[in-house]
């Protein structure tokens, strides 16, 4: 490993290096949980990079101009006492790519190869050029920069593999070029390799977010027939989640039967997703139905299942049922957390049992369960609606002390409750806090205040308020 002199260690700022791409195949990665993207493990950072990270120097590559970069590289090569290692070259290229155009980056790559014969770009070099080519705005019109990089790879003897496809797809989709990502994947599937399940599912997810359901189905069908790539359990879960969010539970149920027909057994995630769909629509009985179905199918409910169920039942006004499941949850070895308690509190407040909600707060503290921002906001909202303003003010004081954010709904209810009692100055003070703590934008906070005061003035004229 070549040692880089101290003056050069600061040359490449690690702050510009976002992540070193992983050049290992993904086959041994654990199955991803739906809602978390795969976190690429960064390749081991060389001692040189760690040094420069520690020193935290200003970036050396400030100018996107190609000639400047070339000159800088030449000077670095000349000044180095020992041959620069691959990682350094990659880092240099990456820093430049981050601030310049893809074409310039490719030119710099050529220049570096020519100047430094020992620098032979490997797969990781191309992999770090790729995201920048994908993210550039030109990609929306044509994938020329991306194709250029890919061709280069082939020329140097590195055929694009599944990692390449994955990097390209993720960068394109995060830049919003989902159609281009689909196009690229199809091309790559014909020429080089089919996308792996991670890429495929990521693409399905991006399509769900940006296109209508029918085009997502079209994509899946196309890939099944043309490229023999089948949707798996995760794909179905993504689809079911998307469909539930659009409140189309019938389609969700249909998808589950399709899933079963294809020989996939629905797992905990799938059931949780559907249950969530029913809960969002306040369909408590259906949610319980899913729970029962899970048990019948031998799928063990987890923490998320119980929290979802309790949330849904509380929301539908079935607090006693929710409490029953709280007991079931504990019996099965799951400890209720802040989410569980907050859901119950929400239910109690909705039924008008605000004191019960306050008691629950005490119970939380006894059980060493830390209430979170949502808990306090739910309680504040409930207290104000339940005409327990003094207790609400007390709670607000607590929230202020810890600098807790106030949510739109509880802010509005609180301001209204204060104004109703004629405590306008205090309402102004809450407005100040909401803006200061950046809980709300000043537009939102002011608009609520203004409309509440407008209502108050009218109510006073009609003799309805203090």
């Amino acid at each position: 490993m070549g040692r880089i002199p101290p003056s050069l260690r600061s040359a490449v700022s690690t702050s510009l290096i976002k992540r070193a791409p992983d050049s290992q195949p993904l086959s041994d990665q654990p199955r991803q949980f739906l809602h978390k993207p795969i976190k690429r493990k960064p390749a081991k950072v060389s001692a040189a990079e760690q040094e420069s990270g520690r020193l935290q120097q200003k970036p050396l590559l400030k100018s996107p101009d190609l000639n400047d970069a070339k000159k800088l590289f030449n000077s670095l090569v000349a000044a180095a006492r020992a041959p620069l290692e691959v990682r350094f070259n990659n880092a240099f290229l990456q820093s430049y790519a981050a601030i310049s155009t893809p074409d310039n980056s490719i030119s710099l790559l050529h220049h570096m190869s020519k100047t430094l014969p020992s620098f032979s770009p490997d797969r990781s070099t191309f992999h770090l050029l790729l995201p920048h080519c994908c993210a550039s705005p030109e990609s929306s019109r044509s994938l020329s920069a991306v194709r250029q990089t890919l061709n280069l790879m082939v020329n140097k003897g590195f055929d694009p593999n599944q990692v390449t496809v994955d990097i390209a797809v993720r960068s394109l989709c995060s830049a919003g070029h989902v159609d281009e990502a689909v196009e690229l994947v199809k091309e790559m599937a014909l020429k080089h390799c089919k996308p792996d399940t991670y890429t495929y599912n990521f693409l399905v997810k991006s399509l769900c977010k940006t296109r209508v359901l029918s085009s997502v189905y079209g994509f899946i069908d196309e890939f099944k027939t043309s490229f023999d790539v089948e949707p798996d359990l995760i794909t179905y879960t993504i689809l079911i989640d998307n469909v539930c969010n659009s409140r189309n539970l019938r389609e969700a149920t249909r998808l589950v039967s399709v899933l079963k027909e294809c020989g996939n057994k629905p797992d905990c995630y799938v059931y949780n997703t559907i249950m969530k769909g029913y809960c969002m629509l306040s369909k408590g009985s259906e949610a319980i139905g899913i729970y029962k179905q899970m048990k019948e199918d031998g799928v063990e409910p987890d923490m998320v299942t119980y929290n979802t169920l309790i949330f849904g039942l509380s929301k539908s006004g079935r607090v006693s049922d929710a409490r029953k499941y709280l007991k079931v949850m504990v019996d099965n070895g799951y400890l209720p957390d802040a989410v569980t308690y907050t859901s119950l509190m929400n239910g109690l407040c909705r039924e008008g049992n605000v004191m019960g909600a306050v008691e629950l707060l005490e119970e939380m503290k006894v059980k060493n369960c830390e209430p979170n921002s949502c808990t306090y906001n739910t309680l504040l909202h409930g207290l104000c609606k339940g005409r327990m303003l003094e207790k609400g003010i007390e709670l607000y004081g607590l929230m202020k002390q810890v600098g807790m954010q106030i949510e739109t709904a509880s802010y509005a209810t609180f301001v209204r409750a204060l104004c109703r009692e004629g405590r306008v100055a205090e309402a102004y003070e809450v407005f100040d806090y909401a803006v200061e703590s950046r809980s709300l934008t000043d537009v939102a906070a002011y608009t609520t205040l203004e409309s509440t005061l407008k209502w108050l003035v009218k109510a006073r004229q009609q003799g309805l308020a203090v």
Binding site: M280, A412, R423, A425, E426, Y428, V443, Y446, T447, E450
Partner: protein
């Protein structure tokens, strides 16, 4: 029925939002108070409220009432006392009405 009816009236209505945050050329009275030739209605409110707090103009017996000093009187219709509840409406008077 939607479970939550959050009133995002202004946020969803571009005309109302513009009315609140667009900069407006001011009549001379407001210009003197604010010290700028342009300000938005929201900015003006914030400025006036800060002024009230900074100069302790809230009545000590009733914080809901503001005792206006000379500068404030000039922009609040010459009133020597105003209620905090009226403040937004009074400031709105200086600004052009929303086009229907």
């Amino acid at each position: 029925m939607l479970p939550q009816l959050v009133k995002k009236v202004v946020a969803n209505n571009p005309k109302k939002l513009a009315n609140l945050i667009d900069l407006v050329n001011l009549p001379s009275t407001l210009r003197d108070f604010v010290g700028q030739s342009q300000i938005s209605r929201l900015g003006c409110f914030t400025r006036v409220w800060s002024y009230i707090k900074a100069n302790n103009l809230q009545d000590s017996n009733n914080k809901n009432v503001v005792n206006c000093d000379e500068k404030l009187k000039r922009i609040l219709l010459g009133r020597s006392q105003v209620e905090l509840a009226e403040l937004p409406a009074l400031i709105k008077l200086h600004f052009p009405k929303e086009p229907k």
